[in-house]
């Protein structure tokens, strides 16, 4: 007891340690509230999009390749008729398709073509073009692991931005649109 009385600062050590633990706890809680562990940053940002050669959903005899789409920026939206969150995202895409200012390409991921066509007939088709990756093999090269995912690809075929999960008006306003404007200013 005498020792503690001699050094009053020592009395606060347990309190400080406890406060530090509480701080860790709070930071962890807040972090988990604001970050979704499912959304892993893509290593493909600012790297060339992988080459692809995929049939059109509405005309499987005609193929679309990466080089067909070079020359102007576009959005590539990975979706599937079986994907629940894609249903949530769908009205947002319908509302924004003409506001993006660049083409919105649909990427039908691991889907039976007739299911995808029926889904688009029922809900409306927000896409300027839809390509179909029925096996999902090309999607591996894009690092797709959960639909919906959206890629912003510039005129040179470089992936400039990726969003995992449904696009919301908030995400579009805060992240996607500034990126699109950035590309416009580059004049690409």
């Amino acid at each position: 007891m005498n020792e503690v009385a001699r050094k009053p600062a020592a009395r606060f050590v347990p309190l400080i340690v406890f406060a530090a633990l509480v701080a860790f706890f709070v930071v962890g809680l807040v972090w988990n509230q604001t970050h979704d562990a499912r959304f892993v940053p893509s290593p493909l940002i600012d790297k060339p999009a992988p080459a692809f050669h995929l049939p059109r959903l509405n005309d499987p005899t005609r193929f679309v390749t990466k080089s067909d789409l070079l020359g102007k920026p576009y959005l590539l939206n990975v979706f599937a008729s079986w994907c629940f969150a894609c249903g949530d995202e769908h009205p947002v895409l319908m509302a924004y398709r003409d506001k993006f200012g660049i083409p919105l390409i649909g990427y039908d991921y691991k889907d039976a073509p007739q299911d995808a066509r029926a889904w688009l007939d029922r809900h409306g088709d927000p896409y300027h073009e839809v390509i179909a990756d029925q096996s999902g093999e090309t999607a591996i090269n894009f690092g797709v692991y959960g639909a919906p995912e959206t890629y912003l690809i510039d005129a040179h075929g470089i992936i400039r931005y990726k969003h995992i999960g449904p696009l919301t008006p908030d995400v579009i306003a805060k992240e996607l649109e500034p990126k699109i404007r950035e590309l416009e200013q580059e004049g690409t």
């Binding site: 893509s42 290593p43 093999e137 690092g143 959960g146």
Partner: protein, 144 residues
Amino acid sequence: MRRLLAVALLAFALALSAAAFAIDPLPFKDTAQRDRFQHLTRELRCMVCQDESLLASNADFAKQLRRQIFDMMQQGKSDSQIKDWLVARYSTFILYDPPLAPATIALWFGTPAILLAGGIVVVVLLRRRTRPAGMITEEPGDDW
């Protein structure tokens, strides 16, 4: 008691083998290749169901990547080539064993640092306590 132990061991062995055989039948060349495949895919994360390995997961994503890894093995790719290929697409998050990088320094050295700090505190406290040896008996709660 011995019987109970035997049952427990059996249950444990069954649980282990269930995890090992939650995989699709892939035509491995030999058991060495199968073992290598299982060892490799156990170290890789299923990105869809993030707390499972590619080996144990039944998700479509994991099945497809297992197939892909199997094919790459047949092409003679090494484990590190396969890992690099996956990391280029899915980031180092797919590795259960994180590489040493600026972002993982806290992960690698955080625990030893905290352990060291705790050790220092314990040593300091013990030294202080042993010096005034006569005082220990005066502390309340020590008299029994």
